[in-house]
Subunit: 177 residues, 2 copies
């Protein structure tokens, strides 16, 4: 089977953070609007066959009610037992590229890579095919960065950008080979 | 006289750097096109009465031929003598807010704040009125960041965004009081 397409869909502050130092994401509510604008997330996730996330992201979303991924296949990268987990959630220990290859063998066509550490690992291993980056019009000053020094130099092709009345600017990029 | 309007106009990599660790900006050439697209810089600088920059930025641009600021008033923040400097270049030692007040007394209407340290200082002192941020579709991984921990939490209002055929995405923000 072919290698699945690996996609990133994530929002950062103007200064590139995905959360405050304490992990807070309250500042994301500055772009919530009265119409329930989802910034394309619904259409994106509908095209996804499997979600791969790190342990920190899982521990944060595990408490969400309802569970945000429905019955979609979710794989958590972790060395430790997940404890009670929603249906469809698996744990993977070890190499991300091996996991991606295995998902391809299972017929998975497109994977959503979620969480800062997992995204950086995917970029470091040159596995990410496309990224949708949303910039929330807030400066945090300090926080948990999306990118980091393990991300290699690379050029990306802009597929498109748009802005929303809330001030969020979204751009989608494809990796240039 | 009124306090001048303080503006920022700067490009970063997708991961928020304005230069490589060694100060390199060769990666900016990835968005040079055959038509000499200036991404609005000409119109921006035409509306500027004075440029305020840090010493590192001055030392970099001092070698440019021709001098990029024409006969515009340029103030370099530095504790050390500038050496031979183009006409119109002054040195300022001390408080940025005091300098801005003095420029206002001189009838300066709009100031361009240039260079990472100077921009961060302006943000830290709550002096920046508007920012035009251009995202070059390149990941650097490491480098000299535009923002930093001295930048305070703040919400910004998007005034507009656009993208260019080279993949550069530009957004302009106004500080929300």
């Amino acid at each position: 089977m072919a290698r699945p397409r690996i996609s990133v869909f994530i929002a950062t502050s103007l200064d590139g953070f995905i959360a405050t130092e304490a992990g807070g994401i309250d500042w994301l509510s500055t772009v919530e609007d009265e119409h329930g604008e989802d910034y394309g997330y619904g259409a994106f996730i509908a095209d996804i066959d499997a979600v791969v996330m790190g342990r920190k992201t899982f521990d944060m979303v595990a408490g969400f009610d309802p569970w945000p991924f429905g019955d979609k296949r979710v794989i958590v990268l972790s060395h430790r037992d997940l404890g009670p987990a929603p249906e469809g959630v698996e744990r993977h220990e070890g190499d991300l590229a091996l996991l991606v290859a295995r998902l391809g063998e299972d017929g998975v066509r497109r994977v959503y890579l979620d969480g800062g550490e997992t995204i950086r690992q995917g970029l470091a291993e040159d596995l990410v095919d496309d990224m949708t980056l949303s910039r929330v019009p807030v400066m945090l000053g300090k926080g948990r960065p999306l990118f980091g020094p393990e991300v290699p130099y690379g050029r990306w092709q802009l597929l498109g950008s748009r802005h929303y009345p809330t001030g969020l600017v979204q751009a989608t990029y494809r990796q240039l080979d």
